[in-house]
Each structure stands twice: as C-alpha cells, then as structure tokens.
Symmetry: C2
Subunit: 218 residues, 2 copies
C-alpha cells in the first residue's frame, strides 16, 4: 500500500513522539508538532488506523503498529542519509539541511536510497549525531545523556543534539560547541541551572535550556 507525503509525516512524528516520551502519543502532541489542529489529526488517525499503520482507540492516544514503525524508520533513514549527502557532498552547514531533507525524505525509491547509502560510504550518523537506520531498518542507538544531567568534574564528548532548529545549531557553531568536541563540567549554578563548561581549553557558561539540548557520550 502506498502512503502519501502527509501520511508519512504523521508516521514520522508519531514515531519521534513515542520514543521521546515513551508510551502512547496524544492527539494534541501530534497537532502541536505538525502545526495542524487537533481535529485534523483525529481525521488522519482514523485513516492511518484503517490502513493498520497505527493502533488507535478513541480518546486513548496512538502507537505505531510494526508496519507503521518500519515505514517511519524508513523515512528517518532517508531523511538522515540525505542530510549526510547535503553536508558531505554539497557542503551545506549542519543548520541548513533539515528543511531540504524534510522534502527529500519523501522520494520513493528503495534502490535510490541504498545507492545513496553506498555512495556516502554507509555513514552511521547524520550531521546532528543521530544514528542512521540500516537497510533492514535496524537502528543502533547509543546511550547519551544531556549536559544538564552531568555532574561537576565529569568529562564527555558532544555526540548529539535534542533540538534541530537553525537558531540553536548556529548558536552551537558560534560558541564552538560542535559535534565531537570534548567537554567537562566546571560548575553548575543552582540558581538558574546554568552550567560552566570547559571546551577547547576555554571556559564557557551555557544556560539550562542549552544544557538540556546537548547530548553527551561519557
């Protein structure tokens, strides 16, 4: 069965909301995420349930079926591979690729995406540190924690971000908090949750909001 552009965006959104919050996904959460109204979401949920891509019971929230999950993972695979292409081959910056990948992810061809994967040398992570599912839909995710959760004195490597907005990525770029950098916690301000970090021999203070959106591997 074919899925439309729009249906694919719903599946992907449900997948992300589900793994982030882990449980069933609410109508409102989807509508916020996709910038549509709750009533529109209900309409679509009925359609996706008919196609057996989600498990849906009125008022109870939704989860993806196995098929729906695989579809979502395929879209994510395409999204992330296109991002790698744009950055590695066309020299886009990591903050410039999201919207383009958002369109490219709907190009429908298994051969194309597998060839692209090969052309890019089977990358394991996208430009934001997110893992790329392989052609069988298998996704090996690494245990990462946020800077906000680290303790004074701990060391780690910046390995991902929880927020993909241009604003945020550009801020990280400007302050040198880029993927792969070694970071250590110098101090944590109890008053406002700000964190003083050491990076490239420089001391820097980042807000709690920022600290919550940088992911670290220890």
């Amino acid at each position: 069965m074919t899925t439309s552009f729009t249906e694919e965006n719903y599946l992907k959104t449900i997948y992300h909301l589900n793994t982030d919050e882990n449980g069933t996904v609410s109508t409102n959460a989807i509508s916020e995420s996709l910038h549509t109204k709750a009533a529109s979401v209900t309409d679509m949920l009925k359609k996706l349930a008919d196609k057996e891509l989600i498990n849906y019971a009125k008022y109870q929230g939704v989860t993806l079926t196995e098929i729906g999950k695989q579809k979502a993972i395929t879209i994510i695979r395409k999204h992330r591979l296109w991002e790698v292409f744009l950055v590695d081959k066309l020299s886009f910056k990591w903050d410039e690729v999201h919207d383009l990948a958002e369109e490219l992810e709907h190009i429908n061809s298994e051969i194309l995406i597998n060839r692209l994967d090969e052309f890019l040398n089977f990358p394991e992570k996208d430009p934001h540190g997110d893992p790329i599912p392989d052609k069988n839909g298998i996704l090996k995710s690494q245990e990462l924690i946020t800077v906000a959760k680290m303790n004074i004195g701990e060391h780690g490597k910046i390995s991902g971000v929880r927020e993909h907005s241009k604003d945020f990525l550009q801020y990280l770029e400007k302050t040198g908090l880029t993927l792969g950098c070694e970071i250590h916690i110098i101090d944590k301000i109890t008053f406002d949750g700000a964190v003083v970090v050491g990076i490239n021999q420089i001391e820097q203070t980042i807000s709690r909001e920022v600290a919550k959106n940088i992911l670290i591997s220890l």
Copy 2:
C-alpha cells in the same frame, strides 16, 4: 508566488509540447501527455492563467508567458541535473532515471540545485543528450536531425533521443546505438522506411519508428 507540484508538471508539459510542435498547445495534447481528462486540464488552465503563467483564451489553446517559461526551464534544469547525478554518481543506467528525476525535479531550492550543478562539474547535457539550462535559464540547443532524415552515405554522431521510454532506451543499449557513437547510412528501404546503418564496424537495420527517434549531429 509558489507553484504546486501539479502546476509545475503542467508548465513543463506545455513547454515541451510548445517547442516540439511550435505554436499554441491544445487542451487535448496536454491531457494526453499527462494522462488526465480534458475537463481537468481546462480547470488547471484557468488557474495558471489567473497566475499569469500562461496565455489562455477559451478554445484557442495556450502558450507560456515569459514567467511561465522561466519556471518551466527551471524545472527542466532540475530534472536533467538530477538525472546526471543519478547516472554519474549513483551508477544508474540511462533508462532508469527518468521517473526518479520526475519526482526530484520538484524539490524546491535554488541553492541546492546550484550546488548540485557545481558538484557535477556544470554538465552541459543530461544522460539522454538533452541540453541543461544554466542557472540563468539559458539553454543552448544544438541543431540535431533524426536518422530518418539522413541520406544514404551521410555520417554523423548519435547525440540525443526523442523518446525517453525505458523500452526504447534499453533497445538502443542492447543494439549498441548509444550516445556518442559514430553512425553512417548504408541504405534506406523505401517499402517500410527501415534504415540500414553502420555502427562500430557492424551493419544493422533499424525500423522507421526507431530512426525517427534517434537524433544526430552531423
């Protein structure tokens, strides 16, 4: 003003029909080409006329306005560059790329397409020998004639095709009538229009239908 996926396909079709047949384009020609019904075409023509992308007078056929023409050329540029990418970088065959390019051509980003152009080293032709418009929409087309129009004894180089179907391209591939080959006319059968050609020291007979769809530069 933005144009939808569908509107773009109409513009491109009108452009091709117009330059092929040179004059105004009829409702039926468009409907055949796009596999839609004439009534649907009329609806769309009204919309495109409102947007000033075509000149349309009831029952009189249509032509593109300058803006419409530029839009069409941009889509063709994208189509052909993506085809080059698929063949040169992802090792697709020339008969496998058309449908994918048909989707990719609607990805909407000037920067992306200019970066792609650069990445591909500013190719002048696509895998089917068709010229690629430059970033200013300028298209240098070469004078080409069909094999059917050549005379006995004439020589030339295969430089393009007038038919892009998988079937036709695979036939050419199989019989060695590929882009760049030198060809000469050995005989022409008056009965059915078949042409006996010499190619790579081999003598071969091709039907009139095939001869009409191979383009030659003298």
